[in-house]
């Protein structure tokens, strides 16, 4: 009875949304406050970038029941396209003009995102459409497509890591007391937050969003109500791929140096986020991404070798507690 009361009280004050706070509080016990603040901002920024990549994958999983192992190709292409655009607009980046700096930045992110949407459309039509309802084939063909995409990146950009120019206005750090916060991280966090708010409003305040949420639960019934779910599928796939490419573009600027394996390396974290967040849920993806970002940064500071393993352990712990993830879309 006491356990039930405790659970009800926790739910009332925020439930699973308290987990990032709990994680941050635990980290504060082991890390000096100024370092902790820097790591927390880094974790939030990293979380938001991973959220960009994971939210699309989660919706594609949830709505379309498609296991898209090729999702990371969009991340990689997004990163390389953004890097190329930034390199081409080098003169705009180097100057002190805020306008030109921002134009170059948005041109890079915009080009990556637009490519993601168009490539997502082609990917859905050519690769995914023939294998709906067949998970094994989905895994095989999307893995195959990923390999082809990575080879294409090698052909176009070569195998050598390439540097990514960062707009001047996003370089450097803000110093607050003895806490140093990279400006790029603040930008990454704010962009991720803006995308989350846009997605949240679209899903919860529009008819399109209503259809997507319904489709995640019961595709057949959405069709029986008179809606073409296949058109919804294409739209969601394009949006998911565009967000992955946007995430890749942001990640490129964050890392400063990118290589063709970037997408595949990030995909482990992206899958962890989707699984612990719960399939088909944007809130779940955000929550999972922030947890993963914070965990990766805290542990990388405390025990560098345990950074990735810590997130694996986090996933195992959450799945033992909540087998369908923290905030799964309700089914049926």
């Amino acid at each position: 009875m006491h356990r039930q009361q405790l659970a009800t009280t926790i739910d009332r004050v925020g439930g699973v949304y308290l987990l990032p706070l709990a994680l941050a509080a635990i980290a504060l016990l082991f890390i000096a406050p100024s370092t902790w603040a820097t790591l927390t901002v880094a974790g939030l920024a990293m979380g938001m970038m991973i959220f960009l990549m994971a939210s699309g994958l989660s919706l594609i999983f949830g709505l379309m029941d498609v296991l898209n192992f090729g999702h990371s190709a969009f991340v990689s292409f997004g990163a390389f396209i953004a890097a190329s655009v930034l390199a081409a607009l080098g003169a705009w980046l180097a100057g002190d003009s805020v306008v030109f700096n921002m134009l170059a930045l948005f041109a890079a992110i915009g080009a990556a995102t637009a490519f993601g949407a168009v490539a997502g459309w082609a990917f859905e039509r050519v690769i995914v459409k023939p294998v709906y309802k067949d998970h094994l084939r989905q895994i095989l063909i999307t893995m195959g497509a990923l390999i082809v995409a990575e080879q294409l990146i090698l052909v176009i950009w070569g195998g050598v890591p390439i540097p990514v120019a960062r707009p001047r206005i996003l370089t450097g750090s803000l110093i607050v007391g003895d806490v140093s916060i990279e400006i790029y991280r603040i930008f990454a966090f704010l962009l991720g937050l803006a995308v989350y708010v846009a997605l949240h409003l679209t899903l919860n305040r529009t008819r399109l969003g209503l259809l997507i949420r319904a489709g995640v639960e019961n595709r057949e019934m959405v069709e029986a109500l008179g809606f073409r779910i296949d058109r919804l599928f294409i739209g969601v796939f394009m949006a998911g791929s565009a967000l992955a490419a946007m995430g890749g573009a942001m990640w490129a600027g964050y890392q400063g140096m990118i290589n063709p394996a970037l997408g595949s390396e990030l995909m482990i974290l992206v899958f962890i986020v989707v699984i612990i967040g719960g399939l088909g849920s944007i809130q779940g993806s955000l929550l999972g991404a922030i947890l993963v970002g914070l965990m990766a940064n805290y542990v990388a500071f405390l025990m560098p070798k345990m950074s990735l393993a810590s997130n694996m352990l986090l996933m195992m712990a959450i799945l033992l507690w909540r087998p369908y993830g923290l905030k799964p879309a309700v089914k049926g």
Binding site: R207, L210, L211, R213, A214, V216, E217, N218, E220, M221, V222, E223, A224, L225, G226, F227, R228, I229, A329, V330, K331, G332
Partner: protein, 238 residues
């Protein structure tokens, strides 16, 4: 009387299983037409085939003057056919209001119709902003039916709406269906003969994927031997 829906020699396979073996079914316009049959007889498959959720191997399905045999499910629905599946097809993560709104063509409600639905099923108004997964089985069924009538449809296909419901709710359903049938044709799949008898104007009995009897409900209701022979059930059994 003209048929609003006609199934002509419809054969449907599900994977390697042949489920419907030439269904011949005429649903007259107006009132409730009942499709009775034992478990596994092909009732649900018939409804799903009409909605395009299973594809026919052979035969034709005509709704009014439209041959809908090869049409996509959304196009069939937009012709004015609503479907209430056996599992009710409620979107649990959506509120009652959102479930209802999704069934409207433009996203806007007709206030008069909504008032009528609230009068038929007060629970829908009471739980308007509640997430649908929190509703009881009976309330979910009411929501499923309300969703089907939130806008005018020409035909509603309803699959075993009384399954698992308490007798009091079933009585409430009978009144509601009588009201709905004033403006819409209902093809009702049912195993509860008392419920079917109370509502049905006409009846078709399906067994082993074929229609084995058709006629007025009153005739079947008056002939206990026929009921036993056709359905392996009797009114007393329910």
């Amino acid at each position: 009387m003209t048929a609003i829906l006609r199934l002509d020699d419809v054969h449907t396979d599900i994977a390697q299983y042949r489920v419907l073996h030439g269904v011949l079914l005429d649903v007259p316009e107006g009132g409730v037409h009942v499709l009775l049959g034992r478990n596994g007889a092909g009732k649900t498959t018939t409804l799903r085939t009409v909605m395009g959720l299973w594809r026919t191997r052979k035969g034709a399905i005509v709704f009014r003057h439209h041959d809908i045999t090869a049409m996509r499910t959304p196009d069939i629905a937009r012709l004015g056919i609503a479907y209430v599946p056996e599992n009710m097809g409620i979107f649990g993560g959506l509120t009652v209001e959102e479930n209802m709104r999704l069934a409207t063509a433009t996203g806007a409600f007709d206030k008069n119709r909504l008032a009528r639905i609230f009068a038929l099923f007060p629970a829908i108004e009471k739980f308007w902003t509640t997430q649908a997964y929190a509703l009881s089985g009976g309330q979910k069924q009411m929501l499923a039916i309300s969703r089907a009538i939130v806008e005018r449809r020409d035909l509603i296909l309803i699959d075993e709406p009384t399954k698992g419901l308490a007798p009091a709710i079933i009585r409430n359903m009978i009144d509601a269906f009588r009201d709905i049938a004033q403006e819409t044709t209902i093809l009702l799949v049912e195993q509860n003969f008392l419920f079917a008898k109370a509502l049905g104007r006409g009846v078709s009995v399906i067994d082993d994927g074929r229609i084995i009897h058709r006629g007025p409900m009153a005739d079947l209701a008056a002939d206990a031997d026929l009921q036993t022979r056709l359905l392996s059930l009797s009114a007393e059994a329910h």
